[in-house]
Amino acid sequence: MRFPDEGVSIKDEGSKTEFSPKILSFLCNWCSYAGADLAGVSRFQYPTNTRVIRVMCSARVDPIMILEGFVQGLDGILVLGCHLGDCHYIHGNYFTIKRVKLTHKLLKQAGIHQDRLYLDWVSAAEGERYAKMIAWFIDEVRKLGPFGEVEGIDAEELKERAKVAQGAARSDKLRWLAGKEIDLCGEERIGIQGKNVYGEQVSKEDYDILMNENVLNEYTRSGIISLIRENPLSIKEIASKLKMCPAEVLQHISILEHAGVVFLTEEEGRTPRYIGV
């Protein structure tokens, strides 16, 4: 999904009966926030659905923060930074791309429609473009319906899944993968030649596969932890609840145990049960 730039007109907010999406936008101080200011100074009218959080750079936006928006049940989230090459912090926004990419993967894993999260660039001079982009995104989210509708999942259940995704976003593996991609795969546009410890550039395709595998694993582990956070369960019970095979669950449990986030509780009878922290 991409803002088309051309042919977007700003309509007045839909009739009262129509669904009015709740949208949060993260704006960077130097470009997109200034662009939003310019929209104001120029009196470009746009619908009232967005709420703004100002950060210094879009690179400050942590996947955990974006996912928190969905945990709260928001219908859409925008992350707007400076245009590539214009970042006030040299190339901070290239890291934003990687973090939003990770978040998109986590949303997909959680069954949340990926179009509910959108990343783009707005300069300090693009007041009109900002207004149009906001109006356009609100329309796009309106098409998806309230949180959970297009997904066909109850909103409360989906919020729980967002929480699981948030847990996965805290994992060191995913944070590393998002943070290291530029170092390992390179980024021509900022003149970074990627290399691993052997001096080889990692292919973007391989990296993507690795990322997807890890997103699945970390999401699953986060799901296991949230399942056994309050009531300890056995491997079998976990497997049946998550519709997984017990061997796979055991594998995850042993990794989590090793990481010190899951513990074996006292044996009752003969079935070992695990509890998460």
């Binding site: 009232t48 703004v52 210094m56 690179a59 928006g69």
Partner: protein, 566 residues
């Protein structure tokens, strides 16, 4: 005020009507009522203008009388007014870092002017998010950074030249970069300047000579700025020099003045413009300079105002053209008092101030005729006549012409956006540079350490360009004279107890401001405060939540996200 006990949060919220700018579009009373019920809010007040003397003293009194230890102003944008309100907090004894801005004007009342109910709701939401954040703010101290005592001036027209000279006179190092081979800009083509008919060449040459007399003013002609890196106090500018020898220079400056000027619109396709018998005012200036004998022989001269201006494509008034037309008409009439000269103007003729009004009267006394046209009834130009509908007579009149002069507006350079991008400053819809605030900071950009003057900002006359240039030079000299600027302490800090020295923060830092160092407790990440610019990328990466991005902490931002919905 006793700041030792910051545990008890006492939040004061000041809500600005901004005259009718906010008050006219939002239900401010309703917003205040709502705000009273938010957590830790112990005081609220509505101000007609929070930034006025009265509003500011209301903040001070509020802090003192209600023992506030957190302050919110819900008004305009932090990009212009945050320093003012922070200073007021500071004057009232409150650490300025305990202040939070909520923007309900640029991001709300001005963009939802027909949505009173929904916009009022949005303002309440934004204030609730602001309260959530302000409760988690902690006192901090500013950091000081050194300023390179040198200034880059971009553009060597009268504005750039004046600003450079003024700064050089004060003893600062100045580098003036001009892309043309010679200095002077538009002034090179002008003949005499209104209102006292001073010779443009004399004005220019005088300024040039003065500029060249300062050894601390370096003038680079045939040169263009290619890249600008850095921040106030420490800019690194790459200049591409074409002549006399092609080369690249890296210049270190603390501040930058933008004076790139404008150009005159060439009215291709309008009123039969051909550059020969139908010309622009600028072309007329050249003929007044070089071909006065020829001009003397012309009997019928017609000028049309607002050509290519004040319409759909270019909505603005170029401001200088009315005076230019009156001046050039007067000059021709002095050359040939018998000449019939008409100025065909659209609805108004812009002559402001005492001198200019007299000037206009003199022109009328000299027999120059002013005829008004209506935008719906534009003049029609044929080979011999200009046909125009005269409202007074109620019929068309035909005015013969030997020379038709079109008054066209000053327009911005097509490539202004390249420079704007390099400087990270905004342009308006007509590609003129946009100042930080039209009244409060007319010569500053919102980005610290960059200033603007002359026609790159808006069409102005020479006297106005000169006063703006002197003003911009004065503004630019403040950080250079102080040798230091105070910048907000928006830097990151590593919690050594949580850090596992994985080094991810160091690899996502655009400034290489984080290093892994050996400490007593093993290897740990360490932030080099002087290099940290506060983007927060490290905080968004750390797998151990070991990084505190001051002013934008995880907790603060998450609290805002959680407060989006009531």
């Amino acid at each position: 005020m006793d700041q030792s006990n910051l545990l008890e949060k006492r939040v004061g919220v000041f809500i600005c009507h901004c005259g009718t700018n906010i008050g006219g579009f939002l239900d401010v009373e309703d917003i205040e009522e709502y705000t009273k019920g938010l957590p830790d809010v112990v005081f609220t007040q509505r101000n007609l203008y929070t930034c006025s003397e009265e509003g500011l003293s209301q903040i001070k009194n509020g802090i003192k009388e209600h023992n506030l230890n957190r302050v919110i102003v819900a008004s305009c944008t932090p990009r212009t007014h945050e320093p003012l309100f922070k200073r007021v907090c500071s004057e009232a004894g409150l650490n300025p870092y305990l202040f939070n801005f909520v923007n309900i004007r640029e991001h709300c009342s001005w963009v939802h002017m027909h949505e009173r109910k929904q916009a009022t709701k949005k303002a309440k939401d934004l204030i609730r998010m602001g309260v959530a954040r302000v409760r988690l703010l902690e006192p901090e101290e500013d950091i000081e950074i050194d300023v390179e005592p040198a200034c880059l001036v971009i553009g060597g027209g009268i504005a750039g030249l004046t600003a450079s000279t003024s700064l050089a006179k004060r003893g600062f190092k100045v580098v003036l970069v001009e892309r043309d081979a010679t200095l002077g800009g538009l002034l090179r083509d002008l003949y005499k300047l209104y209102p006292i008919c001073e010779d443009a060449t004399n004005v220019l040459e005088g300024r040039k000579r003065e500029g060249e007399s300062y050894p601390n003013l370096e003038i680079l002609t045939s040169s263009e700025v290619k890249e600008i890196k850095g921040f106030v106090g420490n800019y690194e500018v790459t200049v591409d020099i074409q002549y006399p020898r092609h080369g690249i220079r890296i210049i270190k400056v603390g501040v930058i003045i933008v004076a790139t000027g404008a150009k005159v619109l060439i009215p291709e396709g309008l009123y039969g413009y051909d550059g020969k018998r139908i010309i622009t005012q600028l072309e007329l200036e050249k003929r007044l300079k070089e071909e006065r004998e020829k001009l003397k022989r012309l009997n019928n001269i017609v000028m049309i105002q607002c050509v290519g201006a004040r319409g759909d494509k270019r909505a603005y008034c170029s401001k200088v053209c009315c005076m230019v037309a009156i001046k050039n008409a007067t000059l021709i009439s002095r050359l040939n008092p018998e000449a019939k000269i008409y100025i065909i103007y659209r609805d108004i003729i812009q002559v402001h101030g005492t001198e200019y009004e007299d000037y206009y009267r003199e022109a009328r006394d000299a027999g120059i005729l002013f005829v008004r046209y209506h935008p719906e009834n534009e003049p029609v130009v044929s080979d011999e006549y200009v046909k125009i509908y005269d409202e007074m007579l109620g019929e068309d009149i035909l005015i013969p012409y030997d020379l038709l002069v079109l008054s066209t507006p000053l327009v911005s350079w097509e490539d202004a956006s390249n420079l704007a991008k390099m400087l990270k400053v905004p342009l308006d819809e007509n590609r003129f540079f946009l100042e930080a605030h039209v009244k409060l900071r007319p010569l500053d950009f919102a980005t610290d350490g960059i200033y603007v003057c002359g026609t790159c900002h808006w069409p102005v006359s020479v006297p106005e360009a000169v006063s703006q240039a002197l003003g911009a030079a004065a503004r630019a000299s403040i950080p250079m004279a102080n040798k230091k600027v105070r910048v907000e302490s928006i830097i990151s800090e590593v919690d050594k107890d949580k850090c596992i020295a994985c080094g991810l923060c160091a690899s996502v830092c655009p400034y290489k401001a984080i290093e892994i160092k050996k400490t007593e407790g093993g290897k740990k990440a360490e932030v080099i405060s002087a290099s940290c610019k506060g983007c927060g990328s490290c905080g968004a990466s750390c797998p151990m939540s070991a990084i505190t991005m001051h002013q934008f902490t995880d907790e603060q931002i998450l609290s805002q996200v959680k407060a989006v919905l009531p």
